[in-house]
Protein backbone atom coordinates (compact mmCIF):
# COMPACT_ATOMS: atom_id res chain seq x y z
CA UNK A 1 0.00 0.00 0.00
CA UNK A 2 2.86 2.36 0.86
CA UNK A 3 4.45 1.50 -2.47
CA UNK A 4 1.23 2.40 -4.20
CA UNK A 5 1.17 5.95 -2.90
CA UNK A 6 4.91 6.54 -3.10
CA UNK A 7 4.79 5.52 -6.74
CA UNK A 8 2.00 7.99 -7.42
CA UNK A 9 4.01 10.67 -5.66
CA UNK A 10 7.24 9.80 -7.46
CA UNK A 11 5.41 9.70 -10.77
CA UNK A 12 3.76 13.07 -10.31
CA UNK A 13 7.05 14.61 -9.27
CA UNK A 14 8.86 13.22 -12.31
CA UNK A 15 6.15 14.54 -14.61
CA UNK A 16 6.39 18.00 -13.08
CA UNK A 17 10.19 17.98 -13.41
CA UNK A 18 9.86 17.13 -17.09
CA UNK A 19 7.32 19.87 -17.63
CA UNK A 20 9.62 22.32 -15.89
CA UNK A 21 12.39 21.49 -18.35
CA UNK A 22 10.24 21.98 -21.42
CA UNK A 23 8.89 25.19 -19.89
CA UNK A 24 12.40 26.59 -19.59
CA UNK A 25 13.24 25.49 -23.12
CA UNK A 26 10.17 27.36 -24.36
CA UNK A 27 11.73 30.71 -23.54
CA UNK A 28 15.15 30.02 -24.96
CA UNK A 29 16.00 31.45 -28.38
CA UNK A 30 15.66 29.31 -31.47
CA UNK A 31 18.73 27.58 -32.79
CA UNK A 32 17.76 26.72 -36.34
CA UNK A 33 18.95 28.23 -39.59
CA UNK A 34 16.13 29.30 -41.90
CA UNK A 35 17.70 27.43 -44.76
CA UNK A 36 16.58 28.87 -48.06
CA UNK A 37 16.71 32.38 -46.63
CA UNK A 38 19.89 31.95 -44.64
CA UNK A 39 22.84 29.81 -45.57
CA UNK A 40 25.94 28.94 -43.66
CA UNK A 41 29.49 29.15 -44.86
CA UNK A 42 31.13 25.80 -45.39
CA UNK A 43 34.24 25.04 -43.38
CA UNK A 44 37.63 25.27 -45.08
CA UNK A 45 37.94 21.51 -45.38
CA UNK A 46 34.46 20.88 -46.69
CA UNK A 47 34.54 18.18 -49.33
CA UNK A 48 32.22 19.11 -52.16
CA UNK A 49 32.65 17.97 -55.74
CA UNK A 50 36.03 18.63 -57.30
CA UNK A 51 37.14 21.62 -59.31
CA UNK A 52 40.23 22.21 -61.39
CA UNK A 53 42.78 24.71 -60.14
CA UNK A 54 44.08 27.21 -62.62
CA UNK A 55 47.69 28.26 -62.89
CA UNK A 56 48.82 31.85 -63.27
CA UNK A 57 47.71 31.98 -66.89
CA UNK A 58 44.26 30.67 -66.17
CA UNK A 59 45.01 27.29 -67.71
CA UNK A 60 44.37 24.18 -65.66
CA UNK A 61 47.37 22.92 -63.72
CA UNK A 62 46.43 19.39 -64.69
CA UNK A 63 49.03 17.49 -66.73
CA UNK A 64 46.68 14.58 -67.59
CA UNK A 65 48.66 11.97 -65.72
CA UNK A 66 45.44 10.06 -65.01
CA UNK A 67 46.14 9.40 -61.33
CA UNK A 68 42.76 10.72 -60.27
CA UNK A 69 41.00 8.61 -62.87
CA UNK A 70 42.71 5.48 -61.59
CA UNK A 71 42.29 6.32 -57.94
CA UNK A 72 38.57 6.94 -58.14
CA UNK A 73 36.69 4.03 -56.56
CA UNK A 74 33.54 4.70 -58.53
CA UNK A 75 35.08 5.50 -61.89
CA UNK A 76 33.37 8.83 -62.21
CA UNK A 77 36.23 10.80 -63.73
CA UNK A 78 36.89 10.78 -67.48
CA UNK A 79 39.93 12.55 -68.85
CA UNK A 80 40.75 13.50 -72.39
CA UNK A 81 43.94 14.97 -73.81
CA UNK A 82 45.40 16.31 -76.98
CA UNK A 83 49.10 16.43 -77.58
CA UNK A 84 50.67 19.61 -78.80
CA UNK A 85 54.26 20.39 -79.61
CA UNK A 86 55.93 23.02 -77.51
CA UNK A 87 59.41 24.40 -77.58
CA UNK A 88 61.32 23.99 -74.37
CA UNK A 89 64.93 25.18 -74.36
CA UNK A 90 65.07 25.13 -78.09
CA UNK A 91 63.89 21.55 -78.35
CA UNK A 92 60.52 20.58 -79.68
CA UNK A 93 58.75 18.39 -77.16
CA UNK A 94 55.38 16.74 -77.17
CA UNK A 95 53.18 17.76 -74.33
CA UNK A 96 49.76 16.55 -73.33
CA UNK A 97 47.13 19.16 -72.75
CA UNK A 98 43.88 18.59 -70.95
CA UNK A 99 41.01 18.67 -73.41
CA UNK A 100 38.28 17.10 -71.37
CA UNK A 101 37.70 16.64 -67.64
CA UNK A 102 34.31 15.17 -66.93
CA UNK A 103 33.02 14.36 -63.48
CA UNK A 104 29.97 12.14 -63.20
CA UNK A 105 28.74 13.49 -59.89
CA UNK A 106 25.88 11.00 -59.71
CA UNK A 107 28.40 8.28 -58.92
CA UNK A 108 30.82 10.30 -56.82
CA UNK A 109 30.99 9.40 -53.15
CA UNK A 110 33.02 12.48 -52.19
CA UNK A 111 35.83 10.44 -50.74
CA UNK A 112 38.57 12.76 -51.97
CA UNK A 113 40.88 10.05 -53.30
CA UNK A 114 41.35 12.05 -56.52
CA UNK A 115 42.52 15.18 -54.71
CA UNK A 116 44.84 13.16 -52.53
CA UNK A 117 46.34 11.25 -55.41
CA UNK A 118 46.99 14.33 -57.49
CA UNK A 119 50.72 15.01 -57.40
CA UNK A 120 50.45 18.36 -59.11
CA UNK A 121 47.95 20.10 -56.86
CA UNK A 122 45.56 20.55 -59.73
CA UNK A 123 42.33 19.61 -57.96
CA UNK A 124 40.42 21.18 -55.12
CA UNK A 125 37.11 20.69 -53.40
CA UNK A 126 34.28 23.00 -54.26
CA UNK A 127 32.43 24.66 -51.43
CA UNK A 128 29.20 24.36 -53.29
CA UNK A 129 26.58 22.32 -51.50
CA UNK A 130 23.27 23.54 -52.90
CA UNK A 131 23.28 20.96 -55.63
CA UNK A 132 19.81 19.84 -56.54
CA UNK A 133 18.15 18.97 -59.77
CA UNK A 134 15.50 16.73 -61.18
CA UNK A 135 17.64 15.69 -64.17
CA UNK A 136 20.69 13.53 -63.81
CA UNK A 137 22.38 15.19 -66.79
CA UNK A 138 22.83 18.26 -64.62
CA UNK A 139 25.36 16.32 -62.60
CA UNK A 140 27.67 15.46 -65.45
CA UNK A 141 30.06 18.27 -64.80
CA UNK A 142 32.45 19.51 -67.42
CA UNK A 143 35.14 20.84 -65.13
CA UNK A 144 37.09 22.47 -67.92
CA UNK A 145 34.08 24.53 -68.87
CA UNK A 146 33.43 25.41 -65.25
CA UNK A 147 37.02 26.60 -64.94
CA UNK A 148 36.61 28.84 -67.98
CA UNK A 149 33.42 30.23 -66.57
CA UNK A 150 35.13 31.01 -63.31
CA UNK A 151 38.00 32.68 -65.13
CA UNK A 152 35.67 34.80 -67.18
Amino acid sequence: MGGYFSEILYGSKSLLVGMGITFREFFKPTVTVQYPYQTIKMSARFRGHIELIADAEGKPKCVVCGMCERACPSGCITLGSTSVEVEVDGKVKKKKILSKYELDFTKCSLCGQCVENCNFGALEFSKEYNLASTRKEDFHFNLLKRLEERNA
Binding site: G11, G18, I21, T22, S43, R45, P73, L110, Q113
Partner: protein, 372 residues
Protein backbone atom coordinates in the same frame (compact mmCIF):
# COMPACT_ATOMS: atom_id res chain seq x y z
CA UNK B 1 13.62 -19.49 -34.72
CA UNK B 2 12.38 -18.17 -37.97
CA UNK B 3 10.36 -20.81 -39.66
CA UNK B 4 8.06 -19.70 -42.46
CA UNK B 5 4.84 -18.16 -41.27
CA UNK B 6 1.62 -19.45 -42.74
CA UNK B 7 -1.87 -18.18 -42.30
CA UNK B 8 -3.60 -20.41 -39.86
CA UNK B 9 -7.25 -20.74 -39.00
CA UNK B 10 -6.58 -19.98 -35.32
CA UNK B 11 -7.69 -16.35 -35.41
CA UNK B 12 -4.18 -15.04 -35.79
CA UNK B 13 -3.24 -12.62 -38.52
CA UNK B 14 -0.08 -11.47 -40.22
CA UNK B 15 1.05 -7.93 -39.64
CA UNK B 16 3.73 -6.52 -41.89
CA UNK B 17 5.77 -4.06 -39.87
CA UNK B 18 7.74 -2.38 -42.58
CA UNK B 19 9.44 -2.04 -45.01
CA UNK B 20 7.98 1.42 -44.57
CA UNK B 21 7.06 1.84 -40.96
CA UNK B 22 7.92 4.68 -38.60
CA UNK B 23 9.42 2.38 -35.98
CA UNK B 24 11.80 0.46 -38.21
CA UNK B 25 14.10 3.44 -38.90
CA UNK B 26 14.70 2.62 -42.49
CA UNK B 27 13.67 -0.28 -44.59
CA UNK B 28 13.46 -3.24 -42.32
CA UNK B 29 10.51 -5.54 -42.56
CA UNK B 30 9.25 -7.74 -39.77
CA UNK B 31 6.49 -10.19 -40.53
CA UNK B 32 4.59 -10.69 -37.33
CA UNK B 33 1.97 -13.28 -36.65
CA UNK B 34 -0.37 -11.57 -34.25
CA UNK B 35 -2.97 -12.73 -31.83
CA UNK B 36 -4.72 -9.44 -31.18
CA UNK B 37 -1.95 -7.20 -29.93
CA UNK B 38 0.24 -10.12 -28.93
CA UNK B 39 2.99 -11.38 -31.17
CA UNK B 40 2.85 -15.13 -31.69
CA UNK B 41 5.79 -15.39 -34.01
CA UNK B 42 7.91 -13.00 -35.94
CA UNK B 43 10.20 -13.27 -38.90
CA UNK B 44 12.57 -10.52 -39.91
CA UNK B 45 13.01 -9.96 -43.62
CA UNK B 46 16.24 -8.25 -44.51
CA UNK B 47 17.92 -7.08 -47.64
CA UNK B 48 16.01 -3.99 -48.70
CA UNK B 49 19.16 -1.87 -48.68
CA UNK B 50 21.62 -4.62 -49.44
CA UNK B 51 24.45 -3.21 -51.56
CA UNK B 52 27.02 -6.03 -51.48
CA UNK B 53 29.83 -4.04 -49.94
CA UNK B 54 31.78 -7.26 -49.58
CA UNK B 55 31.95 -7.74 -53.33
CA UNK B 56 33.01 -4.13 -53.73
CA UNK B 57 35.77 -4.89 -51.25
CA UNK B 58 37.02 -7.60 -53.56
CA UNK B 59 36.96 -5.36 -56.62
CA UNK B 60 38.47 -2.22 -55.15
CA UNK B 61 41.89 -1.62 -53.73
CA UNK B 62 42.11 -1.26 -49.98
CA UNK B 63 42.33 2.51 -50.24
CA UNK B 64 39.43 2.68 -52.65
CA UNK B 65 37.31 0.70 -50.24
CA UNK B 66 37.68 3.37 -47.53
CA UNK B 67 34.58 5.41 -48.45
CA UNK B 68 32.44 2.26 -48.39
CA UNK B 69 32.97 1.73 -44.68
CA UNK B 70 31.27 4.95 -43.73
CA UNK B 71 28.20 3.93 -45.74
CA UNK B 72 27.60 0.99 -43.46
CA UNK B 73 26.57 2.82 -40.36
CA UNK B 74 25.92 6.41 -41.23
CA UNK B 75 25.50 7.43 -37.60
CA UNK B 76 28.78 6.16 -36.23
CA UNK B 77 30.83 5.94 -39.39
CA UNK B 78 34.23 6.67 -37.90
CA UNK B 79 34.24 3.52 -35.80
CA UNK B 80 33.89 1.40 -38.90
CA UNK B 81 36.63 3.16 -40.85
CA UNK B 82 38.80 2.79 -37.76
CA UNK B 83 38.30 -0.98 -37.91
CA UNK B 84 39.30 -1.09 -41.54
CA UNK B 85 42.46 0.96 -41.23
CA UNK B 86 43.49 -0.98 -38.12
CA UNK B 87 43.05 -4.26 -39.95
CA UNK B 88 45.21 -3.10 -42.85
CA UNK B 89 47.83 -1.61 -40.55
CA UNK B 90 47.95 -4.81 -38.53
CA UNK B 91 48.40 -6.96 -41.61
CA UNK B 92 50.83 -4.71 -43.46
CA UNK B 93 52.76 -3.88 -40.31
CA UNK B 94 52.42 -0.13 -40.62
CA UNK B 95 53.41 1.85 -37.55
CA UNK B 96 50.98 4.64 -36.80
CA UNK B 97 52.24 7.81 -35.11
CA UNK B 98 50.88 8.31 -31.63
CA UNK B 99 49.28 11.63 -32.44
CA UNK B 100 47.25 10.02 -35.20
CA UNK B 101 46.00 7.31 -32.85
CA UNK B 102 45.01 9.88 -30.25
CA UNK B 103 43.11 11.92 -32.81
CA UNK B 104 41.45 8.74 -34.03
CA UNK B 105 40.35 7.86 -30.53
CA UNK B 106 39.02 11.38 -29.89
CA UNK B 107 37.08 11.54 -33.13
CA UNK B 108 35.72 8.01 -32.75
CA UNK B 109 34.47 8.83 -29.28
CA UNK B 110 32.91 12.08 -30.49
CA UNK B 111 31.21 10.09 -33.19
CA UNK B 112 30.04 7.56 -30.63
CA UNK B 113 28.46 10.31 -28.56
CA UNK B 114 26.79 11.66 -31.71
CA UNK B 115 25.48 8.23 -32.57
CA UNK B 116 24.17 7.59 -29.07
CA UNK B 117 22.56 11.03 -29.02
CA UNK B 118 20.69 10.34 -32.19
CA UNK B 119 19.69 6.92 -30.92
CA UNK B 120 18.46 8.50 -27.71
CA UNK B 121 16.27 10.94 -29.59
CA UNK B 122 14.95 8.36 -32.00
CA UNK B 123 14.29 5.90 -29.20
CA UNK B 124 12.25 8.38 -27.19
CA UNK B 125 10.43 9.25 -30.38
CA UNK B 126 9.62 5.56 -30.81
CA UNK B 127 7.98 5.84 -27.42
CA UNK B 128 6.04 8.90 -28.51
CA UNK B 129 8.05 11.74 -27.02
CA UNK B 130 9.19 14.09 -29.72
CA UNK B 131 11.00 16.96 -28.01
CA UNK B 132 14.00 14.96 -26.70
CA UNK B 133 14.86 14.14 -30.32
CA UNK B 134 15.19 17.82 -31.06
CA UNK B 135 17.34 18.45 -28.01
CA UNK B 136 19.53 15.50 -28.90
CA UNK B 137 19.91 16.72 -32.46
CA UNK B 138 20.96 20.14 -31.19
CA UNK B 139 23.77 18.60 -29.17
CA UNK B 140 24.69 16.27 -32.01
CA UNK B 141 24.90 19.23 -34.34
CA UNK B 142 27.82 20.62 -32.32
CA UNK B 143 29.68 17.35 -32.77
CA UNK B 144 28.94 17.24 -36.48
CA UNK B 145 30.16 20.81 -36.89
CA UNK B 146 33.40 19.91 -35.16
CA UNK B 147 33.89 16.78 -37.21
CA UNK B 148 33.01 18.61 -40.40
CA UNK B 149 35.66 21.20 -39.75
CA UNK B 150 38.21 18.41 -39.36
CA UNK B 151 37.13 15.76 -41.83
CA UNK B 152 35.22 17.74 -44.41
CA UNK B 153 32.04 15.70 -44.14
CA UNK B 154 29.17 15.52 -41.72
CA UNK B 155 28.12 11.88 -41.85
CA UNK B 156 30.04 9.76 -44.30
CA UNK B 157 33.52 10.59 -43.13
CA UNK B 158 36.54 9.37 -44.98
CA UNK B 159 39.14 10.62 -42.57
CA UNK B 160 41.49 7.83 -41.56
CA UNK B 161 44.23 6.65 -43.86
CA UNK B 162 46.48 3.64 -43.62
CA UNK B 163 49.22 4.87 -41.34
CA UNK B 164 47.52 7.96 -40.08
CA UNK B 165 45.01 10.57 -40.99
CA UNK B 166 43.92 12.55 -43.96
CA UNK B 167 44.54 15.78 -42.16
CA UNK B 168 45.68 17.06 -38.80
CA UNK B 169 43.35 18.66 -36.30
CA UNK B 170 43.73 22.36 -35.62
CA UNK B 171 43.46 24.40 -32.46
CA UNK B 172 39.91 25.39 -33.28
CA UNK B 173 38.84 21.77 -33.05
CA UNK B 174 40.57 21.27 -29.73
CA UNK B 175 39.01 24.44 -28.35
CA UNK B 176 35.58 23.46 -29.61
CA UNK B 177 35.89 19.95 -28.18
CA UNK B 178 36.94 21.35 -24.82
CA UNK B 179 33.95 23.67 -24.82
CA UNK B 180 31.68 20.85 -25.88
CA UNK B 181 32.39 18.52 -22.96
CA UNK B 182 30.89 20.60 -20.11
CA UNK B 183 27.96 21.56 -22.34
CA UNK B 184 27.28 17.92 -23.10
CA UNK B 185 27.48 16.99 -19.42
CA UNK B 186 24.86 19.61 -18.70
CA UNK B 187 22.67 18.22 -21.45
CA UNK B 188 23.05 14.70 -20.08
CA UNK B 189 21.70 15.93 -16.76
CA UNK B 190 18.78 17.46 -18.57
CA UNK B 191 18.03 14.22 -20.40
CA UNK B 192 18.23 12.38 -17.11
CA UNK B 193 15.58 14.61 -15.57
CA UNK B 194 13.40 14.88 -18.65
CA UNK B 195 13.44 11.28 -19.83
CA UNK B 196 15.21 8.79 -17.57
CA UNK B 197 13.33 9.86 -14.47
CA UNK B 198 9.99 10.12 -16.21
CA UNK B 199 7.48 7.67 -14.79
CA UNK B 200 5.82 6.98 -18.14
CA UNK B 201 9.17 6.24 -19.71
CA UNK B 202 10.24 3.94 -16.90
CA UNK B 203 6.96 2.09 -16.90
CA UNK B 204 7.36 1.43 -20.59
CA UNK B 205 10.83 -0.02 -20.27
CA UNK B 206 11.23 -1.58 -16.83
CA UNK B 207 11.13 -5.33 -17.05
CA UNK B 208 10.15 -5.24 -20.71
CA UNK B 209 11.84 -7.46 -23.26
CA UNK B 210 14.29 -9.39 -21.13
CA UNK B 211 17.28 -10.71 -23.05
CA UNK B 212 19.26 -13.18 -20.98
CA UNK B 213 23.04 -13.35 -21.06
CA UNK B 214 22.80 -16.87 -22.44
CA UNK B 215 20.67 -15.66 -25.31
CA UNK B 216 23.19 -12.93 -26.06
CA UNK B 217 25.89 -15.55 -26.24
CA UNK B 218 23.96 -17.84 -28.55
CA UNK B 219 23.19 -15.01 -30.91
CA UNK B 220 26.51 -13.26 -30.59
CA UNK B 221 25.02 -10.01 -29.36
CA UNK B 222 27.59 -7.40 -28.44
CA UNK B 223 27.72 -3.78 -27.50
CA UNK B 224 25.10 -2.12 -25.32
CA UNK B 225 22.69 -5.02 -25.86
CA UNK B 226 25.09 -7.46 -24.23
CA UNK B 227 26.13 -4.97 -21.57
CA UNK B 228 22.51 -4.40 -20.66
CA UNK B 229 22.29 -8.12 -19.99
CA UNK B 230 25.07 -8.07 -17.46
CA UNK B 231 27.87 -9.09 -19.80
CA UNK B 232 31.02 -7.11 -19.19
CA UNK B 233 32.25 -7.05 -22.75
CA UNK B 234 33.69 -4.15 -24.64
CA UNK B 235 36.35 -4.68 -27.28
CA UNK B 236 38.07 -1.50 -26.14
CA UNK B 237 38.82 -3.21 -22.82
CA UNK B 238 38.76 -6.88 -23.70
CA UNK B 239 41.06 -6.69 -26.69
CA UNK B 240 42.60 -3.26 -26.32
CA UNK B 241 43.48 -1.64 -29.59
CA UNK B 242 44.66 1.78 -30.67
CA UNK B 243 45.50 3.94 -27.62
CA UNK B 244 42.56 2.86 -25.48
CA UNK B 245 44.77 1.25 -22.80
CA UNK B 246 46.08 4.76 -22.07
CA UNK B 247 42.68 6.03 -21.05
CA UNK B 248 40.93 5.66 -17.76
CA UNK B 249 37.30 4.81 -18.42
CA UNK B 250 34.68 2.37 -17.21
CA UNK B 251 32.41 -0.02 -19.02
CA UNK B 252 28.84 0.50 -17.83
CA UNK B 253 27.14 -2.83 -17.20
CA UNK B 254 23.58 -3.35 -16.04
CA UNK B 255 22.17 -6.66 -14.93
CA UNK B 256 18.44 -6.05 -15.37
CA UNK B 257 18.45 -7.39 -18.97
CA UNK B 258 15.48 -5.20 -19.88
CA UNK B 259 15.07 -2.31 -22.28
CA UNK B 260 15.79 0.20 -19.53
CA UNK B 261 19.14 -1.45 -18.87
CA UNK B 262 20.09 -1.13 -22.52
CA UNK B 263 19.02 2.50 -22.44
CA UNK B 264 21.08 3.21 -19.35
CA UNK B 265 24.17 1.55 -20.74
CA UNK B 266 24.14 3.92 -23.68
CA UNK B 267 23.46 6.97 -21.55
CA UNK B 268 26.35 6.05 -19.26
CA UNK B 269 28.55 5.32 -22.22
CA UNK B 270 28.20 8.90 -23.40
CA UNK B 271 29.68 10.07 -20.13
CA UNK B 272 32.54 7.57 -20.46
CA UNK B 273 33.19 8.73 -24.01
CA UNK B 274 33.35 12.30 -22.77
CA UNK B 275 35.93 11.17 -20.23
CA UNK B 276 38.02 9.61 -23.00
CA UNK B 277 37.78 12.75 -25.11
CA UNK B 278 38.79 14.87 -22.15
CA UNK B 279 41.85 12.74 -21.43
CA UNK B 280 42.71 12.47 -25.10
CA UNK B 281 42.70 16.23 -25.55
CA UNK B 282 44.89 16.59 -22.51
CA UNK B 283 47.42 13.96 -23.53
CA UNK B 284 47.40 14.72 -27.25
CA UNK B 285 51.08 14.46 -28.22
CA UNK B 286 52.80 16.53 -30.87
CA UNK B 287 54.26 14.90 -33.90
CA UNK B 288 53.37 13.78 -37.35
CA UNK B 289 49.86 12.66 -38.17
CA UNK B 290 50.92 10.30 -40.91
CA UNK B 291 53.35 7.40 -40.87
CA UNK B 292 56.57 8.17 -42.70
CA UNK B 293 57.31 4.63 -43.78
CA UNK B 294 54.35 3.54 -45.79
CA UNK B 295 54.14 1.63 -49.04
CA UNK B 296 52.63 3.59 -51.89
CA UNK B 297 50.22 0.83 -52.80
CA UNK B 298 49.09 -1.39 -50.01
CA UNK B 299 49.53 -5.09 -50.63
CA UNK B 300 48.89 -7.47 -47.80
CA UNK B 301 50.89 -10.68 -47.34
CA UNK B 302 49.02 -13.91 -48.03
CA UNK B 303 46.89 -14.99 -45.11
CA UNK B 304 43.81 -13.88 -43.31
CA UNK B 305 43.43 -11.11 -40.82
CA UNK B 306 40.79 -10.16 -38.34
CA UNK B 307 40.26 -6.90 -36.56
CA UNK B 308 37.51 -6.17 -34.08
CA UNK B 309 36.64 -2.71 -32.86
CA UNK B 310 33.96 -1.43 -30.55
CA UNK B 311 31.62 0.80 -32.50
CA UNK B 312 28.60 2.58 -31.11
CA UNK B 313 26.49 -0.51 -31.77
CA UNK B 314 28.82 -3.25 -30.66
CA UNK B 315 31.75 -5.26 -31.85
CA UNK B 316 32.42 -4.68 -35.51
CA UNK B 317 34.76 -7.16 -37.12
CA UNK B 318 36.51 -7.08 -40.42
CA UNK B 319 38.09 -10.20 -41.88
CA UNK B 320 40.40 -9.79 -44.82
CA UNK B 321 41.55 -12.85 -46.73
CA UNK B 322 44.46 -11.78 -48.86
CA UNK B 323 46.13 -13.54 -51.76
CA UNK B 324 48.88 -10.95 -51.91
CA UNK B 325 47.17 -8.70 -54.39
CA UNK B 326 46.35 -5.03 -53.93
CA UNK B 327 42.74 -5.83 -53.34
CA UNK B 328 41.29 -8.34 -50.93
CA UNK B 329 40.50 -11.87 -52.01
CA UNK B 330 37.63 -11.89 -49.58
CA UNK B 331 36.49 -9.16 -47.28
CA UNK B 332 33.93 -10.01 -44.63
CA UNK B 333 32.24 -7.37 -42.57
CA UNK B 334 30.84 -8.58 -39.29
CA UNK B 335 28.28 -5.99 -38.36
CA UNK B 336 27.12 -5.84 -34.75
CA UNK B 337 23.50 -4.95 -35.41
CA UNK B 338 23.12 -8.01 -37.61
CA UNK B 339 23.63 -10.23 -34.59
CA UNK B 340 21.76 -7.92 -32.23
CA UNK B 341 18.75 -7.80 -34.49
CA UNK B 342 18.79 -11.56 -34.90
CA UNK B 343 17.66 -12.17 -31.36
CA UNK B 344 14.62 -9.96 -31.88
CA UNK B 345 12.65 -12.76 -33.53
CA UNK B 346 13.02 -15.10 -30.60
CA UNK B 347 12.84 -12.51 -27.85
CA UNK B 348 9.68 -10.79 -29.03
CA UNK B 349 7.46 -13.87 -29.01
CA UNK B 350 4.51 -13.33 -26.72
CA UNK B 351 5.15 -9.61 -26.41
CA UNK B 352 2.70 -6.83 -27.06
CA UNK B 353 3.41 -5.03 -30.29
CA UNK B 354 4.09 -1.73 -28.55
CA UNK B 355 6.63 -3.37 -26.25
CA UNK B 356 8.20 -5.17 -29.16
CA UNK B 357 8.65 -1.92 -31.06
CA UNK B 358 10.14 -0.29 -27.97
CA UNK B 359 12.44 -3.30 -27.74
CA UNK B 360 13.39 -2.85 -31.37
CA UNK B 361 14.23 0.75 -30.61
CA UNK B 362 16.41 -0.30 -27.68
CA UNK B 363 18.49 -2.48 -30.02
CA UNK B 364 19.69 0.64 -31.85
CA UNK B 365 19.23 -0.52 -35.40
CA UNK B 366 20.84 1.04 -38.41
CA UNK B 367 19.47 -0.88 -41.35
CA UNK B 368 22.19 -0.19 -43.95
CA UNK B 369 24.57 -1.70 -41.48
CA UNK B 370 22.53 -4.90 -41.12
CA UNK B 371 22.07 -5.32 -44.83
CA UNK B 372 25.52 -4.10 -45.87
Amino acid sequence: MSAPIQLRPDETFILNVGPQHPATHGVLRVKMQMDGEYIVKSETVLGYVHRMHEKMGENRTYAQFLPNLSRLDYLGALGYTHGHVLAIERAAGIEVPERAEYIRAITVELNRVASHLFWFGAFVMDLGGFSPLMYAIQDREHILDMLEAVTGARLTYCYYRFGGLYNDVDDNFIEAAKRFIPRMRKSLKKYDALVTGNIIFRKRLEGIAPVSAEMCRKYGATGPVARGSGINFDVRKNEPYSVYPEFDFDIPVYHECDSLARYRVRMDEMEQSLRIIEQGLEKLPDGPFMAEKKPKTIKLPVGDYYQAVETARGSFGIRIVSDGDKNAYRLKLRSPTYSNMHLFDEACEGMLIMDALAFMGSLDLVIPEIDR
